[in-house]
Symmetry: C2
Subunit: 263 residues, 2 copies
């Protein structure tokens, strides 16, 4: 019996706390690993499924809206497949939508931009409901200094100075389209970054540097100096993974390529 | 060396997921137990500390703002004591403020009203960031029917029909001052209840009944029938503990008795 193959787009959310990141790794619990196994189980016939994602998030990083795609061979409809996924996936990785897309769709290559949020908890004692999702930072934080530094970020630049030393990408030029501070409450702050691409640890290194600037330990000009020198050692430390969340991926034709947000 | 005794008021927040409720129990991890041990350790001298709370939350129930009080004998100032608490308490129970109050202050007896919130996650797949804090309810939910039923709740009534069968209170008359539905997003709903007191499981039994009404399985008049009959068996099931959170306690003289909200 032939099972027609098709490409599906899977929109999903996950709590990264208990995952060793997106990318499949031997003997580690990863988002890609858990999803590929579950998709293959639903597909049946012992065939593997290979999943691509818009952003390969690091260990501990969350996603409120990640986009992935895969080729599957199954006679289940999209909604039957989605329902099976809902039932079989663990509670910390949830499907938002699943639907058949054009065979040429590529969740990573076709993404126009991605948006990441880094959450800070500035309360003295730390919000017990945010320990897994925000960096507790009960230290001096001058929001105006941070906003001034953020204002200088957008543009097309070489981000080498904010990339992980281990970053293997040769082309490190990316265009940042947005960088701002959103105050959710007196003690909850989101630092929001949108770009056509991000280098490894780029947001976390930016946040680590912004916290130095906000605390008065580095001048706001540091950002520009790190960018110009392309010298990672001039930047601040890498902020912890658990404050970071992928919140959005944009595609050229929104109607065709973007799934409904149902959370 | 004499250590002057004084009464302190402790405002706090906790994630109830990993606690067997507020009340101290042998060989169980409870909020009262963890706090009393830590307070005694800071106080020193091997003396016990006995903590009273405005609301003795059940196992799994959270508090965004609980109020407790205790007599302590220590020469530490309030802010020194609070800092020590912050450092020594685990991440799931956090002090919001600690300060010396009038010796006659009683966090439970003097509370004018308490407010509880019950959170529902109506999304089909379930928000992975809310699994510990909201009841996942991917079922029919007619918000208008629920709001109509909530509208009939406020008033001075005998709540026996919504109390746990095990409830030992003789006087079951309480005054509910507020009962409403707050829609935080298309799929996140809070059911909010304020009263001068709550019986055991009262909010969870009300929510369980409201979900039956919202799903069309019970008529809206059920609420009135349960109240009039005082018959627990006519009400819906007890909603799970993890959706419930104590969000506020009000005292007569707000300036004197209410701590700053610092989360």
């Amino acid at each position: 019996v032939s099972r027609p193959a098709r490409r599906i787009r899977l929109d999903l959310a996950y709590d990264g706390s208990d995952f060793a990141g997106w990318q499949r790794q031997r003997a580690q619990r990863t988002v890609q690993g858990v999803l590929e196994e579950t998709l293959a189980e639903i597909q049946g016939g012992g065939r593997r499924v290979v999943l691509r994602a818009a952003g390969r998030t690091d260990a501990g990083v969350h996603a409120r809206h990640q986009v992935a795609d895969a080729e599957i061979a199954s006679r289940l409809t999209d909604s039957e497949f989605e329902r099976a996924l809902r039932q079989m996936l663990p509670g910390d990785v949830r499907p938002l939508s699943l639907r058949t897309v054009d065979g040429g769709f590529h969740s990573q290559k076709h993404a126009l931009s991605k948006t990441y949020c880094y959450r800070l908890d500035l309360s003295p004692a730390g919000d017990p409901f945010e320990t897994r999702y925000a960096l507790h930072h009960p230290h001096p934080f001058d929001a105006r200094r941070v906003e001034a530094a953020l204002g200088g970020l957008p543009g097309r630049r070489d981000w080498s100075g904010f990339a992980a030393s281990a970053c293997t990408k040769l082309d490190r030029v990316r265009t940042m389209t947005e960088a701002h501070l959103a105050r959710l409450s007196p003690t909850r702050v989101d630092l929001v970054f949108s770009a056509d691409g991000f280098l490894q640890h780029m947001v976390r290194n930016l946040v680590g540097t912004l916290l130095e600037i906000g605390g008065g330990r580095m001048p706001p000009e540091t950002i520009e100096q790190v960018l110009e020198s392309r010298d990672r050692r001039r930047a601040g430390p890498t902020a912890p993974a658990h404050g970071l969340v992928l919140v959005r991926v944009d595609y050229p034709d929104e109607r065709a390529a973007r799934g409904p947000r149902r959370l």
